[in-house]
């Protein structure tokens, strides 16, 4: 089930109502059933894959705790759990890519043997496998007690608001809350509704309307003039942000309605002054996952520069591959990693000096923000392009087609939607819409609600744009 569907608008109030009407001991049953319905709305049989990973990691958690005094055995259980979870991910997300590339390689060597697989990727697999892995690692490290209730553990992996595109939760946050008794509070309902309204606005009005322009240009870059191609690149930066941020915000809101606080995934990422800061603000749950489970175990930053650079490259290449089995994603991760290293090297070589006045400081910050946005936007081309040829077409058209080609013909209202979003994003710097509304007068708040609802209904795109991160 997708959030921006009539089914979800019926499903969510029913689930929330049942949640508060049922006694605490039955709530997990209802939430788990609701999560199954939510997931099975896509392709029912894929729930079996989820069940396999749940059983493996649930058992691994208990076994690790039971054999806590036998470190080697404990480690074996951890490895079995991670390998099997990754194997599932490997088969469903990467096998097509591997077989295709292997066949190409064999063809290069003159061996014409094609055995390319065509396995369909279950929705959200990368998200819930990572969430599942974080549990077993936390149990292994002793930061988390093993969950001995299969229902609660299943719900931790399958909790519907964040099941298919995160945020990737940690057991210390979500699993704990699932056991807590939640009371009906006006505050939670109000905040949840605010987040949902705002999430729908940025997804349906901003992201989907931008998507129409982006798709046009990416499908035939050479037929557009350079300005339009550059504009489409910038539009994609906002499309993917609004799409993913919108989904995460609806997820936050949906969970909040039932009193659950799930992690923020974004914090005004396009106001980042460096690539490093960008990754502190973008898809935070994934960045912190890689930080805690890959980067720090590799040594983090408390190592020599060369080793640190290696650690960074590992993290970013893995992050690229996590997004999908394609060379363009790998390249995208690599580019981010490389830039991150270059930025650090430059900072080491030319340390930042205190600006002479605060205005010069603002100006420098603005330049850094602009530089980061431009670089991130250029990297998004690798992410969005269907393949290397498409990526090349985009870059070539962006710099060689000033004289000819079609214009994108952006409708004036598109600028209004984008402008409103940018304004809201600036206002929400280091804050969240529900929190921002808290201290505003009731009339202003309700005017904003009305405006957002009206725009979501009347200005949303009527074309179908699935959530971009569904494919991961």
């Amino acid at each position: 089930m997708v959030f921006n569907s009539i089914e979800f608008l019926i499903f969510l109030p029913i689930v929330v109502a049942l949640f508060y009407l049922l006694p605490q001991k039955l709530r997990w049953v209802m939430l788990l059933a609701a999560s199954c319905v939510f997931y099975m709305w896509f392709v029912p049989k894929y729930i079996l894959i989820l069940l396999v990973t749940i059983i493996i990691d649930f058992s691994a958690g208990i076994l690790m705790e039971n054999y806590a005094d036998r470190p080697k055995l404990k480690k074996t259980f951890l490895i079995i759990s991670i390998v099997s979870t990754l194997a599932v991910l490997m088969v469903f997300e990467y096998l097509n890519f591997l077989t295709e590339n292997l066949s190409l390689l064999l063809a290069q060597m003159g061996i014409e043997k094609r055995w390319v697989t065509h396995i369909i990727l279950p929705i959200g697999l990368s998200f819930h496998t990572f969430q599942s892995m974080s549990y077993v690692i936390e149990v292994y490290r002793g930061h988390q007690k093993a969950e001995r209730h299969f229902g609660y553990y299943s719900l931790y992996v399958m909790f519907f608001p964040q099941l298919v595109t995160g945020p990737i939760e940690r057991p210390g946050n979500l699993l704990r809350q699932l056991h807590e008794k939640k009371e009906l509070h006006y505050e939670n309902i109000s905040k949840g509704m605010r987040l949902i309204i705002y999430g729908f606005f940025i997804k349906m009005v901003v992201a989907d309307n931008l998507g129409a322009y982006v798709d046009k240009v990416y499908s035939a870059p050479s037929s557009y003039n350079s300005w339009s191609v550059m504009l489409a690149m910038a539009f994609y930066s906002f499309q993917i942000y609004c799409d993913f941020f919108g989904y995460s915000t609806i997820a936050l809101g949906s969970a909040k309605l039932m009193g659950f606080d799930i992690s923020d995934n974004f914090r005004t990422p396009y106001l980042a002054k460096s690539i490093a800061e960008f990754w502190h603000r973008w898809h935070i749950s994934l960045s912190t996952w890689f930080r805690d489970y890959v980067y720090i175990p590799l040594g983090g930053s408390r190592v020599k520069f060369g080793r640190w650079a290696f650690n960074i490259m590992v993290v970013f290449v893995l992050s690229g591959i996590w997004h999908g089995a394609a060379w363009t994603f790998l390249f995208w991760g690599f580019a981010h990693g490389l830039l991150h290293i270059i930025e650090k090297a430059l900072r080491n070589r030319f340390p930042e000096k205190e600006p002479k006045s605060k205005w010069i400081g603002y100006g420098l910050d603005a330049l850094r923000i602009a530089k980061t946005f431009v670089l991130v936007t250029l990297f998004w081309v690798m992410f969005r392009a269907s393949d290397f040829a498409n990526m090349k077409d985009m870059f070539v058209s962006a710099v060689t087609n000033f004289g000819g080609g079609d214009s994108l013909g952006v409708k004036p209202e598109m600028w209004l939607y984008l402008g409103l979003f940018i304004l809201s994003d600036l206002l929400l710097f280091n804050s969240r819409f529900d929190q921002w509304c808290d201290n505003k007068p009731i009339l202003l708040r309700w005017f904003i609600y009305g405006l957002l609802i009206f725009m979501t209904v009347v200005c949303s795109s009527v074309n179908s744009f699935p959530f971009i991160y569904f494919q991961f």
Binding site: N4, I6, I189, F454, V457, V458
Partner: protein, 489 residues
Amino acid sequence: MKKFLIRILMAAALLFVLNWIYTKWFFKKDVAEHSDILELVWQVEADSCRIVYLGESSNVTCGAQETDKRKISAYLAEYFPNVKTGDMTKEASHAQTYYYLLKNIPKKSTVETVVVTMNLRSFDARWIYSNLETPLRKQLVLMEDYPPFVNRLLLALKAYPIRSEEELDSLTRRHWREDPLVFPFDFEWDNVYQWDSATAWQGRHNYEGEYDPKWTELVCHYIKSYGFQIRDDNPRLKDFDDIVALSRKRGWNLVFNLMAENVDKANGLVGKELMYLMKQNHDYLLDRYGHLDGVTVVDNLNLVRDVDFIDQDWTTEHYYEDGRRIIAGNVAKALKAYYPEEYRNVDWKRDAGHYYFGDAVQTLDKNQPYGPTLTLPADSLRTDWERVNVAFMMRQADTLHNAKLAVESLVAHDNVLVSYIDVKPQIQKIGEWDFATFDLSVDPIMRNALQVKIFVYNPSDDAVQLKDMDVSFRPAYLKPGVKGEPQQR
């Protein structure tokens, strides 16, 4: 709890205001952009129409070279000059679309009679799962029974079936595989999938004996278009039932206009099995809707000859002027019952090469064996006429008669060559009217004859009844195996 209630009331008030703003300033623009079909209803209302014709592309499609390009509904209006007649036409429409259009006609409307196109092919899986269905369903969202603001929300949430090309194709193929074809006679294939595959595998060969891919494709296409049997769970039936219920509720005269299909080609290309299915589906619809109070079914299925179909290499209900006029005339005849005073006869002349002998019933037996006879003197066959279609309606009491179609060529003053074709393989019903169609070549004997006669002949004791005899000559472009590029008529 009080706070909750206050907020719920405030939210309701907010939604009420938003709906009002949307309806007043934004709805019309949205209709123009996303649901222009609703404007058809507004137009009919603005024109204060009393008769409304609901149709798809059959109503508006005409030959590129035609001088009179009027719609079927426009020809229909000629019969009732004093009754305001309008139309709601949208390509690829079907019963569900018509239902939505009809239910959006305001209660205080001037509409008295609705003529609803009933297209046989629209009951077929290929139309039900057509890739035009998603855009069509999208158009209907703003016409739902909810407040406009809610309808716009449904549109924003894509609350209509969205199926990919692959899904649609898979659903269609599933029906072809799983829907059994049941015949009262032996037939070697169990379903359309087998029938189509076998036909494609065997192929069709042209007059030179060469495999003809175009002809084969056309034959397969006819099999896939008409090779189905309407069953009670066909989704179109529910939509037509809804139209009947709505018409009764609103007090409208309801006319279902069963469109003409190219039975000549179906018979010529595929044969009796396909004709059986077409006739069976036709009978099913007539049986289901023809006996309901307040409902008239106008049966045009076999009225339009091959020569009057624009698309010769595809199955459509697109007719040249003659075809459109035939349909309009037939509908007008039905509407005469509702508007006897306003009805006015319209005369129009058919093209050369077309001979229709009227709907008077004639009994043929050994006392009077000859049916209506087309007599053509020497040199009256145009050089570009290479085929001749003979179609008629026949009623038989049993199958003991010996009725034949006869083509008689007087090649010299004392030398008559006659060829007979048995009509029994095509007349399958007993005691009911059934239709037959024959596709013959205009051979050199006919072309060089002093006189040619075409007639139905029954010299036996067992009588048959005959009506609606129709003979049409046609040029070579309609020959099977040749891509039909309509020529200027």
